[in-house]
């Protein structure tokens, strides 16, 4: 930001460019503020953060068997209306339903 300001000081034209630039920033900042408000209004939960944690901690390759089952493939690929819509993976605590670490 500072280097941007240094570049545009010096002549009137570039000063105008600078104010225009600032206006654009203000408009996008306003839109972004509404965006953030809407996201917060939709839900205070942040499941993506938890997913990042799972992704970082999980052991690669473990659990791949589940992706290779016919049931999983069908669930992913088969046309709407031709496949069961719900898969339920069940097991006791610690068997690796979420992941193994």
């Amino acid at each position: 930001m500072l280097s941007g300001r240094q570049q545009v000081t010096g002549n009137i034209n570039s000063f105008n460019a600078w104010t225009r630039y600032n206006n654009i920033i203000n408009i996008t900042a306003e839109q972004d503020a509404e965006r953030d408000q809407i996201l917060q209004w939709l839900s205070p939960l942040e499941p993506q953060q938890r997913h990042e944690g799972v992704r970082t901690n999980r052991l690669d390759c473990v659990g791949n068997w589940a992706l290779e089952t016919d049931q999983f493939r069908k669930w992913c690929d088969v046309q709407d209306g031709c496949a069961e819509l719900v898969l339920f993976y069940y097991g006791n605590p610690g068997v690796g339903k979420t992941y193994i670490r």
Partner: protein, 188 residues
């Protein structure tokens, strides 16, 4: 699993959203908040759809700027999901929600799936919620989860690699661990 679905979805009009339920967050993880979090992930993915923006602005002008209620959010979800080619919704540890929220969530998902067959739902949970899941989705495909011998070996290898007392380990002990533990676990 979510990452795998993301890989498949790349470049196509397919959305993947995930929710992790947690005993410790039971108060916060209401049905409304969970369904809201699905919408939030959809909005994060492709920008906020105009109908959501409009509903937000309308609610903002109402007295007290009221929050979203369950029927509102189900309606918004239906509208958001319908144009997608496909959406995968993954709910992990469903058993960790309160029974009330769990039933509400299953019921809402059932209602959404009815008009949006482009939605696929993946649930995980302990065996005791099986009846409840089947009550709402009688045709759900049930899959028992237990780690394979390979999974256990990968895990043991990783743990032995971060052993804090490596001096206590020798080749024989290592070999015994790698052999006996996977055997015992598969007998369980």
């Amino acid at each position: 699993m979510i990452d795998n679905l993301h890989d498949q979805a790349r470049g196509r009009d397919i959305a993947v959203v995930g929710i992790y339920c947690d005993f410790l967050a039971q108060q916060e993880q209401s049905t409304t908040n969970i369904l809201g979090a699905i919408l939030k992930q959809l909005a994060n993915r492709g920008g906020i759809p105009e109908h959501i923006r409009e509903t937000y602005r309308k609610s903002k002008n109402e007295f007290g700027h009221r929050g979203l209620r369950l029927p509102d959010i189900v309606e918004i979800l239906k509208e958001t999901i319908t144009p997608l080619q496909r959406i995968f919704v993954c709910v992990d540890a469903l058993d960790e929600l309160t029974p009330k929220h769990r039933r509400e969530l299953l019921k809402s998902l059932q209602e959404i799936v009815r008009i949006s067959p482009n939605m696929r739902i993946l649930l995980t949970g302990r065996p005791h919620i099986d009846d409840e899941v089947m009550e709402y989705f009688s045709k759900a495909v049930r899959m028992p989860v237990s780690p394979t011998q390979d999974d256990i070996r990968s895990y043991l290898k990783m743990r032995l690699g971060v052993d804090t007392t490596p001096k206590a380990m020798d080749d024989k002990l290592r070999a015994d661990i790698m052999r006996i533990i996977p055997e015992k676990i598969s007998e369980m």
